[in-house]
Symmetry: C2
Subunit: 305 residues, 2 copies
């Protein structure tokens, strides 16, 4: 346990939330974040920030720093004893854009520490386009690779594969989107200090706004029709399915009696379910479904395909 | 094991699906069911019937009769060995009406049998009004009580309490709707034959159309405004949360690699999530939220309250 580390990391996440919100307000051009401060009965609390703007239909940027005694349901996951004390802090974001041509984006960066001195960093960033455009998926992954390459040579491939596995909807046999990077249990080891890991986690966090800016700039003013809005709503339905059925953070939060409104900030403003919806051959919708699978090497993806 | 029982019960469920669909088409007045026949790779299959009409925005009436070897994930729940064989058949319904003044309704009736001779019936019927009207909740429960009273004197109270416990959303601290009846593991015991239980299950099934008819007749032509549609979508969001996070049938189906489109027929056509939505004091929305709790004695509910 290291109180200086805790406080510094918590403070950095708090500042990161502020920076990201400021950046997103600028990117949105009209929306302003409102905020809710909440307390966790068992210890700690958070600050949930919500935006509904011109670009972003529903966005949430949450910061939390919670502590307390490890709940029963967490003990196994945390490899901890039931009476041990923990501390957890981080920033979590989901943005649902109005325009169906633009992607949903998600980021989470977090730090966890047990009173026995054990700690780790975790997080990730992934993109869920309603319509997949290869150029944008490539560009998204190249930006993530660049951040990972500065950390460790094999980090991108490892974290990309973890994201492919994690953001997968088994009952739909499709990935949630074009993936990204996902990492957990990062701690000091041979040739890697805690401070280097912290730097990596914050470089992911600090890159968020520019990554989303790049993901939306080409299509933010692209016109759309009602059919494309309906497609967006169907894809958002899948997003809700993933989050409610599989997402560990969501399940963990709900099972440990977390603040439902903050945990479920990630859910879409409006989602649709149609029985057995079919897409047309050769359509953009079909292209999208064909690219919702694991193991696509977006860095070396050939646009000639 | 009793092949005659199996075949008869399966056939009765198949006929029940047909009767209910015919009744619902008449009630709807314009919609017609389409159907999908599907096969289960492990054995058996089903017939999913879907309607989109004037009254019913999205409705599904599913019949299935499946058999095979007990999957790993089922063994504990079924108190069975992994290599045992099972047979399961039943009818499952969810109707989402267009008009927000009308309730969502759900019914499930099922029969389960192991090759070792163990068997049980299960099912239930529950109502999820977007707007709760006490008179209608009372009338709904009185109809269920009448059916239960013909079966066993204490059945209604027992099955009503089970429904209250089952259709509960812990993270929202609210029930899914005004409840109904829910029962499982019904088998012959002192003073109760298998055939009497079968009769009870089919009296629940056969009452479905008239129960829904009574639940919609007062308000089916009642005008509504955009705010009420948005409230309906928010309530549908909670319905999706219950089904995806807690519903045992849904989880079981998804985990055992069931047919996703049939399992998720229950999801609403369009659902909304707003961050921290608040209702006005004294509004119908507030009345609704106040009555989404366990243990309301609808039979003796005083309208003077």
């Amino acid at each position: 346990m290291n109180d200086t580390d805790r406080l510094r990391i918590q403070r950095r996440f708090e500042l990161l939330q502020g920076d990201i919100c400021a950046g997103l307000e600028q990117l949105d051009g009209s929306g302003r974040f409102s905020e809710d401060i909440w307390e966790r009965p068992g210890g700690g609390g958070g600050r949930s920030r919500i935006i509904a703007g011109k670009l972003i239909e529903k966005g949430g940027v949450g910061f939390s720093a919670v502590h307390g005694v490890v709940p029963d349901k967490m003990a196994t996951i945390l490899q901890a004893d039931v009476d041990e004390k923990f501390f957890a802090t981080g920033v979590s974001i989901v943005l649902h854009p109005h325009n169906p041509w633009l992607p949903i984006i998600h980021m989470n960066v977090r730090y966890f520490e047990m009173d026995n001195g054990n700690y780790w960093f975790g997080g990730g960033i992934d993109l869920t386009p309603h319509y997949i455009f290869a150029e944008e998926a490539i560009h998204f992954h190249k930006q993530l690779k660049e951040i990972c390459d500065r950390f460790e040579p094999d980090a991108y491939l490892k974290f990309k594969a973890t994201a492919d596995d994690y953001f997968y909807i088994p009952h739909r046999k499709e990935t949630r989107g074009v993936g990204g990077i996902f990492f957990d249990h990062l701690k000091a080891r041979d040739g890697m200090t805690k401070s280097q890991i912290e730097d990596f986690v914050f470089s992911v966090g600090n890159a968020f706004v520019s990554i989303y800016q790049n993901a939306v700039e080409n299509n933010r003013d692209r016109a759309f029709i009602e059919e494309q809005i309906q497609w967006q709503r169907l894809r958002r339905g899948r997003y809700a399915e993933f989050n409610l059925v599989y997402d560990r953070g969501t399940k963990f939060g709900l099972e440990t009696d977390g603040r439902a409104e903050s945990i479920l900030m990630s859910l879409p403003p409006l989602a649709a379910w149609e029985y057995n919806h079919q897409v047309q051959n050769g359509s953009l919708e079909q292209f999208t479904l064909e690219h919702l699978r694991k193991g696509i090497d977006w860095i070396n993806y050939s646009l000639a395909d």
